[in-house]
Subunit: 352 residues, 2 copies
Amino acid sequence: MPKYPQLSERAQHLLKVLVERYIGEGQPVGSRALARDTGLNLSPATIRNIMADLEDIGLVTSPHTSAGRMPTVTGYRFFIDTLLTIKPLQQDIVHQLRQELSTQEDPDDLLETASRALSEITHMAGLVMLPRHEVIAFRHIEFIPLSDQRLLVILVTNEQKVHNKVIHTSRHFSSADLQAAANFLNSTYAGKDLTTIRESLFNDLQEMRNRLSQEIIDAAEVADLALKDRGKRRKPFVLTGEINLMDFADLADMERLRSLFEAFHQKEDLVHLLDRCLETPGVKIFIGEESGYRALDQCSLVTASYTLNGEAVGVLGVIGPTRMAYERVIPLVDVTAKLLGAALNQKSLTPS
Amino acid sequence: MPKYPQLSERAQHLLKVLVERYIGEGQPVGSRALARDTGLNLSPATIRNIMADLEDIGLVTSPHTSAGRMPTVTGYRFFIDTLLTIKPLQQDIVHQLRQELSTQEDPDDLLETASRALSEITHMAGLVMLPRHEVIAFRHIEFIPLSDQRLLVILVTNEQKVHNKVIHTSRHFSSADLQAAANFLNSTYAGKDLTTIRESLFNDLQEMRNRLSQEIIDAAEVADLALKDRGKRRKPFVLTGEINLMDFADLADMERLRSLFEAFHQKEDLVHLLDRCLETPGVKIFIGEESGYRALDQCSLVTASYTLNGEAVGVLGVIGPTRMAYERVIPLVDVTAKLLGAALNQKSLTPS
DNA sequence: TTTAGCACTCGATGGTTTCGAGTGCTAAAC
DNA sequence: GTTTAGCACTCGAAACCATCGAGTGCTAAA
């Protein structure tokens, strides 16, 4: 939490009103308007003095001499950190959210639904990072023979996901072989971590080679093939409602918008950014350049992490113009994260 | 094939040059420029006369009195149907395409790769409709017990896809039960059509009820649950490179672009349009309003269908501004469709 | 410390002018 | 009877200009 310059009550209040009004209207707000809006009975001239101070400190700027003032990034920051009065989320929205999230069967659909809800409610872009499991535990493997030498491998892990892969084997395996191999793997390795399994498979192979039956060695080989490149990147997050961002005058130029969309597609940067939010619990906000990524310069990102079995495994959030209704977005993101966590926990595959 | 008005050789040639130039420059082309560009030794005045004729027929328009001419939709149509000289696709591009498509393991990746290739080569949007199988044949089913009452069903069909689904059962099934059920289903129904299976499951249930063992009835019930809502819509197509469309001055206004992107997201309309292309073999082109969908008014769509085992199962194509380099896009789409078909056929799961 | 007053700034708006590319038409040339 | 030169005309784009008004900073008075 950065230290803020000492500001008089009055100055703070004025800043608050200014930011609120700027967020509402989208245009620099002048001293006259401010004098009217704020309850204090002050003349425009006085306000101008205070504004000049705020500008010196760096909390507001004016686009040119004869325009009103608008918040700078630090202005927004101060506003959000210390002035913002958060509107509680409307109950019917909470209900609807809970409804939508709890009725999703498929966990992938669940994330999609969450993202879509975020974007639809805010009319901005919704973002849900897929759950990240550092330890992926093996649960069950199944081999289904396709044509000769081709094998469908089905791998169930402790994530809520099932992975299929077609692999090519060096020789033909009979159904019985495969069954035996699967049985061996399932009984030996259930619950173990995927990567350690691969390692031990390798080691075991050496010493097993002469002590054990051919089937088991085969199983090991096939499993090794199957587990290989499991690390292949999955889609890292679900992003919905990008198009909504086209409506905001703040982002209305093609250049900017294109590079924003490009950033969305490229993903890496966003993933980095989101990863940083995993550790911190609660809502985290990046305003404009704070994100450190050029493409997001005009945007703010409001995130919260969600938990699975008590551990923060993913992040979700909303991307929109810097000038957004934080007092509504923040509680929404917060609640959505909690509801998503709850829904996930309910769906989580508890050991049989 | 519509009938076109009789046009002199010269007029046709002029139209051709005009369209080519307009596609290249993007600005209405005037008589002077045309007089220079076309080989014929004609004065601007003469050209103007011819242009007036072409305008009467409806092949060109001018945005205002003192601007050059640009092709109308019918102008483009005529150009494409009878004047276009197609540039053969560069060999290295063919090679690269074949390379990329033939090295994809996963069939989903394959489609994605095709779409991406289309969009990257053309700098427009690439589009690949997923293969449509009217008859989905059952190949293999597998049940994996999760927690009590929860069951992972793995269904392999003759598509190149594997479907997983978690289902909740009314009572607990033992592993043996499940194994028996799977065996029964696999041996009884292999190769049959999914929907007919569901029907016969229902019918069989009635008469089996007292004649057969409990397991089989259970199997039928579980299978019924599993097959239920298999009709759930999958993602109908892969679309890549939409962002490229932001670069075209022709589409540069937000309103228009937004509704275009919205159409992409909504999907139904596009699917309809693409479906219409399934029957016709070869390359099919929709220019501007020809598509019948408002959002595509300023765009052209170049499509070709691809085949699997000799049957047209899907459509791919490119979406871009009406003013696109048809002579390059057409062969690209054509070849890509063929290569994708070839790659798919190679990957196709032949019966074991 | 606050405020009234005033000169000043600067974007936005709208009108006017100019420029040039291009047209249509007519009358002459081929 | 085509083709072309010539010419008047149109219309958008760009440049320029004046006006307006919202808003500022500063100074001096309350």
